[in-house]
Symmetry: D4
Subunit: 228 residues, 8 copies
């Protein structure tokens, strides 16, 4: 038996962002081995879902090479890309409990060079808080909305803005709403038109999708030139 590990180093060329390392479900040995391989290939790597307990289990040298953020449980291995000046992405959360997921999104964007702006506690139970931000919301090309419970924020935003709206349902909630399925289904089943959804707690995925919107602009411009 001779298994071989295989890094996907050309992913950035193919889909616009490099491979990231999801640390949940992996052992410390596996994570250390993959970082070693990335080091050998001179690749930078974003690590997600890296619990503090797991971080402690990594070899000291490996640990020292990581720029770790405990709130979002992300780490940078190697240098992130240089940041854009104008933030194209606006991240809003329903409540304080959604902040870790929001930060996973902003840390991912930053690693791949995209700056973002964040607004917390924009829950619909106090609708005036949403309405006070209406102009800023309407001007954002891409909004990543992060909310748990019943996810009503997604529909309220969906009826107020023209930009791309990416809903990130979170597992924050009680009783029937615990785990995030209610917020997820609220995003999918919203009566507001054109809301897009990613998996529960998937701040990383929302950021990748936002990066695709930026890629889309470049691709569209190229297409115009070809056909124009």
């Amino acid at each position: 038996m001779n298994p071989e590990h295989r890094l996907d180093l050309e992913r950035a060329d193919r889909v616009g962002m490099g491979e990231a390392l999801l640390c949940s479900h992996k052992s410390a040995e596996q994570i250390a081995a993959i970082l070693e391989a990335a080091h050998a290939a001179k690749a930078s790597l974003l690590l997600t879902r890296l619990e503090r307990g797991m971080l402690q289990q990594l070899p000291a040298a490996t640990r020292g090479a990581l720029d770790y953020d405990p709130v979002s449980r992300t780490a940078y291995f190697g240098s992130p890309s240089p940041l854009t000046e104008v933030p194209a992405v606006l991240i809003v959360t329903g409540g304080t409990s959604d902040v870790p997921v929001a930060r996973e999104a902003s840390r991912t964007l930053a690693f791949y060079g995209q700056s973002a702006r964040a607004l917390y506690d924009v829950g619909v139970a106090g609708l005036h808080r949403v309405l006070a931000l209406q102009d800023e919301l309407a001007a954002a090309p891409v909004i990543i909305a992060v909310a748990g419970f019943e996810g009503a924020l997604f529909s309220v935003l969906g009826g107020l803005v023209k930009g791309v709206l990416i809903a990130v349902p979170t597992s924050v909630g009680l009783g029937v709403a615990a785990g995030g399925a209610v917020a997820l289904n609220a995003a999918l089943g919203s009566c507001a038109p054109g809301i897009l959804t990613v998996n529960i707690d998937n701040g990383f995925g929302a950021a990748c999708a936002a990066l695709r919107v930026v890629s889309a602009h470049t691709l569209a411009a190229k297409k115009m030139r070809v056909l124009g």
Copy 2:
């Protein structure tokens, strides 16, 4: 084998509203027999979920004795109670498709003597429609909110009003939101405080609950006198 049917004729004394006849799951023979028994007992009866097809199968005499409303699929057998002058209950719907359930509620209230006011198409995808009604909503002692899809209306109202808020999730919706479970869970899992919920499409139950709020006032007043 000698089964016996048993009407619950003292229900009005006990819980404040007389027995109602749920027609779904019953045969035409069963419905006719129960109405005959009610007739013999000189009891008025509210019929719910009476499909037009089932109405046609009832004996002509029975059918003639019914005041039938096809939108709500309700019928009155015997005379409803006299209406109160001031409507204590406000019924709002998210969309046009929720009207049958809203009318089941208003017809039930009317049968038991309680007048109501209804406002349709107050969906959150066009938030200005909710905001335009803010004063009327805030003045209502009891609101029955009827909505399907993701049920964001419940949370938006829950953050705007002081009165009793009874959410009636409807089965109106597409994909994951079909059948009403998403709207139901949105009401239960809302981040707005003190929202009350009844079963999916249960306009009848919401009306009965509203009637209990009215009873509560009388009971509270009585209690004050006893203790005062």
Copy 3:
């Protein structure tokens, strides 16, 4: 990136009770920061779902400012409102295991100034215990019924009383009934008319709804005057 936290200080004016702080899903840092903000704004605050372990992690000064009840996992920050003399709300539980949820309800009511009376162990497996209390149950303007397992208590009460009946399904139960979904669905799907439901284990929400019934009385009286 410049996120801002936003307290909803006008909620009491809008919906009749001040903002409460749900402590589950929040870090000790977040809770302490919010209490500091409330202190700065001279606001009282009800804390719910505050586990003892989390309480220990709060700064000593913050901890000292809290009136903590370990059974209900609630804490008062600042002074609660003065209590009403006559208890309008009756809280009943099916069993001893439902007491923590019942106490979350009574502590919430007390924080917002509403006194309540509680009766425990009124389970339907010993029906005589329910029947012995029939007069007291019938006289209560608002009953908060707290039960897990199969939630049969809700239906039995629903057929016995005229007042507002708020069902709080609890997560207490075994096998298929563990987690509270069976009790929840029993409340929603009851054959007794006009039962209202809140989320599983949501003693806080039930209390807020009971406070809305009291608000409804005031609103109804105002409406009468306007129209009368």
Copy 4:
């Protein structure tokens, strides 16, 4: 390819009741062929879930040989066993809509020679109806309780009687309670001790189980003699 059909003619010797023919999921050709085989083997057969529409599709001769009951959708092919004089089984239903399932139980008992007594409309929403029957319920060796919606009847009976209590949840119900899962889970998750459950709408299975209780008496008596 040479498939062979196989009747289980010795089932009565093995488990105490002969094979029955479940007609749903079968074509008219299959039903007719099986009845022909039973005829050839001089076997009596109970048919269940035989819809009237399917009955019409059977060959006239076959149809003529059946004693059909449209309410329970059962038919007798050949002679049923002679009835016992004393009914050991009491069948109660929560409501009128549960009658078809109750009759499937009583028709099955009758086919296998066991008489039964039935009481309808014993729903807990009008608890006095249950209490009025308390003595008769307490004296019954075996109760088959048939109820839909939230199935609270099972728990109420479970706390009142000593005999064997077989719950038959029915698919009668609305919203979350449609289809019978709530009533089923209420029976399984009841706080009353020793309730036994069969599948949703399974009047046939409940009757077979009641027949097993009778067999148990004979087996126990035999055992006593062997050991005594």
Copy 5:
């Protein structure tokens, strides 16, 4: 607020077995208080789901008064009833992992005075093990079958025996079968006639049901005399 605890001391007279104390979901304080009340009322009490960790938290005196069995997590408080000589109940398990549930059943039976016989490892993956026991199985008036995974044991037994067959699905299983829902549904949906089911892991409930079968014999004999 003046809550009162209420023991159900007449349960034995009403339903044939005394109240039992379910220890899961209760605090050590609550358990100790209830045992004290039972002591004051000179009542014996069966305790179920008493984890060893919880046992350690009870006051030493209380702990000393308990006859504790760690496998079944049951304890006797006070004296159990004297045992019958002939075991009317046969308990079989599919595998070794089902033993704790089987012992909860046998300990419950023993507490209420009913002796039982147990056979372990009768899984259908080695069918010869079932067939070797065929005579003993066929002679048992009541079988409690305890099995997890896919619960095929229930159907195999259901086709082999005449006695009362009580299925206890266990939470033992992997992947889709973890938690016991598959075994439960297998018992409910079995093609074998007249299988009865209790909740997942509910050895206590199965034993109570078996006790009801014994009560049924007495009730049936009484009925015969009355009518004979």
Copy 6:
């Protein structure tokens, strides 16, 4: 009772596309009334989920004013916007059965003025069909991928392209995959980064989201100018 219907005529200004009329769950009377109101307001309207049977029930005049497409069950009321020349959106389907949903997307895009290109039968069971189109897929700024069954197409595309990838899971599938939940969860739970999802069968929503991506370009350009 005086309900009022409310059209959301300013939606195009707010969110970039005008209100659309979802015809499922509405009666012919309701649809006709809304079209009349749109006519009075000189508004164009896109109708979705308009079954042929419902079309027949509309008044002849109304019916005549509709440009109906039976495959997608959409209709245009009034004139659609003029089409863009270069198609920014590429629509691909896994199989022939997904075509109706794909056409709902293309008809929606066309109504709001956006041209699109469609490629059918790009299922992964014949991977060469995907690979043959690799260049065209890589050049598309926005791909709407429409697939049922296990939705593997979404992941395969997600690993091949840089553009925005909008997954539309369809209800096409058998057994566990019937209804679309498996395809939906495959899109949400994909190991490929940045896939966005809409509700099951929601071709309309996917098109609206694609339109938002176009709006995002305009908004981003505006932002650049403001800040540049």
Copy 7:
């Protein structure tokens, strides 16, 4: 917009069996067009899930070219492959209602040239029927077991035979077992080792898998030669 349909004509070379046409979810127009394309490409085609009603809607010429079997709802378009002499596959069903799915399997095998033997009514409720066939079962290289309800047949066979065991759960069942999920989970969660499963009612898939086992023999022999 210029969509193109794409047949997968090289599938036989790649995976060992040609493309089949699943007719559910397709319109008559789509089916006719695909058959026309197959005709043009001189390809034979197996059609599955072709309801009789749909067959009637096909053009007469197309219909005439089909060899249709109404029980299995399959049709042959073009000539099937010549049959093997020795049947390597044994198909067994739990009951008569499982025959349509069993025939879908045997018709699929026959179309691709593999003969099979079928045995019906081998349900475990009459275990002697299984035991009587034990030798034949043990000698079969591949068994396709078709069963609904609780699927106990899979486990019983899994403990008796050495060959490949392919479980096909069917949607045949009542109550909780309706739709096939219980039988499916029983196959997946079986305590017998090495049972393989396909989707609910997927006789076609089971046959394709059996064909893969035959391919595996050829591949294994080739491998031996290469390495030997």
Copy 8:
């Protein structure tokens, strides 16, 4: 009460592989007792799901007799069978997190004497990694494919190879895909023909099924001889 444990020592003769000991759900006492019984019967035994913590609780002598692999949580008690020279089975994983399940499969194969080859990180998000292995995949008589998340790997392989394809969905995944149900349903609901599935994380079961394919070859050859 006299329970007896029963080992199934003839399983190897009956189904082709000896009994294995599943250690989850068992106590250290039970495991030790079974190993003692196996020792007495001179039987080798494969242990699965043996957590390191449980290993530590076993008596030192027992522990010393085990060949333990921490990654797969398997142990060999006694000698495994001698290995075949040519590996008939190819094991592939979607990602690094699936390795423990893949190793459970390879360790099981090895214990029963079948060698295998393993390839890791063949995920479809980097499709080129699958395509690079296409020849090796096509030549494998049996592939065990191990994947979590959305399980797209199963469909991609199903369209590329002729051999037996056994899907092992793993519990590796996030949000809706956590726990493995999505990957499982993807395998069952795949559009690729003839994919076979085992339970979630069931590497042991997949290996047993692969062993059955080898048995099938022998049985088929025997059959040929008998009939030839």
